[in-house]
Amino acid sequence: MNVLRAAFAIALKDLRVERRNREVINAAFSFALVVLLLFSFTFDPSGEETREMSGGLLWLVFSFAGVLVLNRSFARETSNDCLDALVAAPVPGAAIFLGKALANALLLLVLELACLPVFGIFYNVRWQVNFGWLLVVFVLGTWGFTVIGTVFSALTVNVRLRELMLPLLVFPVTVPALMASVQLTTALFSGQPIAPELLWLRLLVGFDLIFTLLGVALVETLLVG
């Protein structure tokens, strides 16, 4: 079976499971709202400087909520030994990895697009100005974050204190992707054109490519052991 077809099948499976029990998305969205609330206490939310830090705030919310999504990605497969069945299935490990990453990225994107208007209302940020480019940044940033997160989710699935280990490992490694996303998002929120920030966009694309390839190369070892 074609790797990509298998990956789509696995992504569809994950999304179908999520659609049926809404295990993650509700909790993650509520958690994102909690974080948005907490931010309002750390600085003056009506101040002019809010716009300058808006990208950073938003991506912190995304990454906190994102870790919740990623935590469940492989942990979900541990009951009834589903993971063993997945690994034993006649598909390459790369397909499992890509499928899971795709499902996680889509879930996270839905979450982000749901958070965006709420964020705009709460913090008076005009996010509609550059929406097309914003979407590009969201997709690239989310893919970088989820690729690392999905590999590390597989990495920590049989580890003690799994829920604690994942953010500890994911955040430092995703720093370049988050930095680039924050920089681009802040620029787009303030209505600037994307042109002077293309360097960051290139960084984001490079980050995505490198770690997708690395994940594809290493996931087989990780899953089979």
Partner: protein
């Protein structure tokens, strides 16, 4: 120490470190604007380079472990990465000590500092990750895969910092503009060598500790299963 040859590295390290102290604090000329504070740089810069070497060795050992499943490589990997964390800590602390009189603050979120801190956090994560896996085979695989991701990330973090505002003094080693005084340069390279020898010495000891720990773990398992 079992054999005489194992004494070679510790003795050499001690001699080189004493010589490095003499060179850095007495022989090297005093810097014009920063004064004596600048001398910390003879340990600050080499400790960072040594840390990077240690992490590189750790990653290569990790890859070798993934290919061969020979636990000697896993022992080498954990030893090297752990020592790398120590050297990164030395780098961060000496940098802080230097920054206080020169910049007036212990820490600033300058890009280079931030990326050194990110590096440190990643490898502390590596050590914690190892501790939370009981099964040696799985532990080796998980740790090796993580160390590959972490090390590949280092140049990307470093690149992204160049585009963020930086107030750190420009790197003086391996750069084309030789602005450093030749005498200072000599001391710097000697200190780098001393640090690398210190790394090898620590690696030798740490590997033996890890080997023994691995053996005791196996014996304990054997006792429990009997």
């Amino acid at each position: 120490m079992k054999s005489r040859s194992e004494w070679v590295l510790p003795v050499l390290t001690a001699a080189m470190l004493v010589a490095a102290l003499y060179l850095a604090f007495v022989w090297a000329p005093t810097e014009k604007t920063m004064g004596h504070v600048q001398r910390i740089f003879y340990f600050h810069v080499p400790s960072f380079f040594t840390a990077v070497v240690a992490f590189l060795v750790g990653m290569v050992a990790g890859i070798r472990f993934l290919m061969s499943r020979d636990f000697r490589f896993d022992e080498l990997a954990v030893s090297s990465n752990e020592i790398g964390v120590i050297f990164t800590s030395v780098n961060l602390v000496t940098g802080s000590v230097w920054a206080k009189p020169i910049w007036g603050v212990w820490w600033t979120w300058d890009a280079r500092l931030t990326s050194a801190f990110v590096l440190w956090l990643m490898y502390v994560g590596y050590l914690i990750l190892r501790r939370s896996v009981d099964e040696p085979g799985l532990r080796g695989v998980v740790a090796a895969v993580f160390s590959i991701f972490a090390f590949v990330d280092v140049p990307i973090v470093y690149m992204s910092i160049r585009w963020w505002r930086t107030q750190h003094p420009q790197p003086v080693m391996f750069s084309t503009e030789g602005t450093l005084d030749p005498q200072m340069c000599l001391v710097l390279y000697f200190c780098l060598l001393a640090m690398l020898v210190l790394y090898l010495c620590l690696l030798q000891i740490r590997r033996r500790v890890e080997r023994l720990r691995h053996e005791t773990e196996g014996l304990r398992r054997l006792v429990h299963s009997a």
